[in-house]
Amino acid sequence: MNELVFFINNVVVSGTVSSSIYAMGAIGVTLVFSIMRFAHFAHADMMTLGAFFVLGLTMLFPEVGVAVGLPSALILMPIAMVLTAIVAVGIDRAFYKPLRDHNVKPIVLVIGSLGVTLMLQGLIRLFAGTGSRSLYIAERKDIFRLELPGELATRPIVITEPQIILFFCTVGAVVALHWFLTRSRLGKAMRAMSDNPDLARVSGINTNTVIAVTWMIAGALATAAGTLLSLDVVLKPDLSFFLLLPIFAAAIVGGVGHPYGAIAGGFVVGFAETLAVFNWAVLLRPFQDMLPAGWELPTYLAFVGTEYKITVPFFILVAILVWRPTGLFKGKVL
């Protein structure tokens, strides 16, 4: 039973956590691609930036969460989402729009977004330093230990407060996005522009508005993902380094330009990573007694070591580009 608990803690819980983060990031990447047709490399840095906005706000108002019993960072997150949405629109106006207006090839925009990546990383370090920070300033992280009934399980299932919040935020974001894309006027205009930008213009859709809304959604979701990840682990300026590859892998696995695919892709990549670093030897331990004396089961049996976790999305990415470049959901070819 303890082995099962170990599996739940290390695969089910932690897989859901990274999958949710990747999904929220990948939705942004895929939406930006479907509207503007370029791979936005600065997206992971928008996640970091959003989380740093939350840090700044939490340092200003460390006590706001105390009254409601939630982390202050979470209460302040919506404000940071708005701030990041504004910054995202500003970055577009300042750096990407002039390029678009010159009808440049998509690759030029991609290189431009690499420049924005470097700029954001520099700015974050300039204002917030290089160290790791906790988003818990005035309170402590709640950790829930669920004891299983019965004799066999002596260890509890461990879930932290930010993990629970993350899960509900992801579900909320997905439901809201679905409603937006299928029911609202602007959401349908976004799908229309993704299908056929010229015809969208001919239909009277203001494509600049659609572009701005796309950046707002991408910036807001990036902030939520970055903040919840930082609440769960820690906030550091190079967070994006570990997010960029899995997020792009998720977007491509799901089929670029396909928001629901991005969610599925996030879960494929998140769980593939978690399963690849999981120590499967633990699950074999109960069978040790059945083996003849002298036979030892290995104590460590994982596909890759934890420190090489980042190679997993890389391999997924290569495999999908080789065998199914349109992704699981028939997206656009990057």
Partner: protein, 234 residues
């Protein structure tokens, strides 16, 4: 005052000039038809009128108001509609969503406008929840025209509305075009099927190499032996 009046229009893609001084004018309630060989610049002219490419010289007026290089979404608000030659539907949107996109600038609900389009194109009713990309060629063309009609335009531009359709569908579309026109919509369209199109045209324009070669009533062009010899296949 003409509904649409384009004079000496020059323009093209980037620095490449395709149009070298095109003139065309139609009155309200008229059908204007542009014919001419492949690559003459017919589609380019419609795009120039609809603000989809830069006009470098000349002027375009709608009911006397200058609309040269005005953005497409503004033109839609001024009562113009455009059905492009290809890629003229949103394939992943349902038929109804395609039509709703046409009425993007109109206050909701769009029930009356939708009913009007479904009346004009009855086969679309049962396909309304289906992605438009799954429809047959003729039905896609109906979606494309329906989308443009959702704003109740006073002037409708159409680029080869019957291209690639079977003769049966072709006649069907021509009938619809006459109906739309009879309801008071001015029409300017490009057609490959020159004889049939000039037959319903009040004004005809024969373009070649980005310039007018002949401009007259549809009937006169049909009867002109020189036009017939060089552009209507004898």
């Amino acid at each position: 005052m003409p509904l649409l009046d384009a004079q000496d229009v020059h323009g093209g893609y980037g620095s490449m000039n395709i149009l070298n001084g095109v003139d065309l004018a139609i009155e309200a309630h008229e059908i204007g038809v542009i014919v001419g060989p492949n690559g003459a610049g017919k589609s380019t002219m419609l795009k120039a009128i609809f603000g989809l490419l830069q006009v470098s010289q000349g002027s375009i007026r709608l009911r006397g108001e200058d609309i040269t290089n005005v953005a497409p979404n503004k033109l839609v608000q001024m009562g113009m509609g455009f059905v492009p030659q290809e890629y003229n539907i949103f394939p992943s949107l349902t038929v109804q969503e395609n039509l709703e996109m046409g009425a993007y600038i109109k206050p909701r609900p769009h029930t009356r406008l939708l009913d009007h389009v479904f009346e004009l194109f009855p086969p679309l009713v049962e396909k309304r929840r289906q992605p438009a990309g799954e429809l047959s060629g003729g039905q896609r063309q109906m979606v494309a025209m329906g989308r443009a009609l959702m704003t109740e335009p006073g002037l409708l531009l159409m680029d080869e509305p019957t291209a690639g359709l079977s003769p049966l569908f072709m006649n069907e579309i021509f009938t619809r075009i006459k109906e739309i026109n009879a309801a008071g919509v001015g029409i300017l369209m490009v057609e490959q099927n020159a004889k049939q199109a000039l037959g319903i045209a009040d004004k005809g324009f024969v373009l070649a190499a980005g310039q007018n070669r002949f401009t007259d009533t549809g009937q006169n062009l049909l009867n002109d032996p020189e036009v017939a010899r060089s552009f209507l296949g004898g």
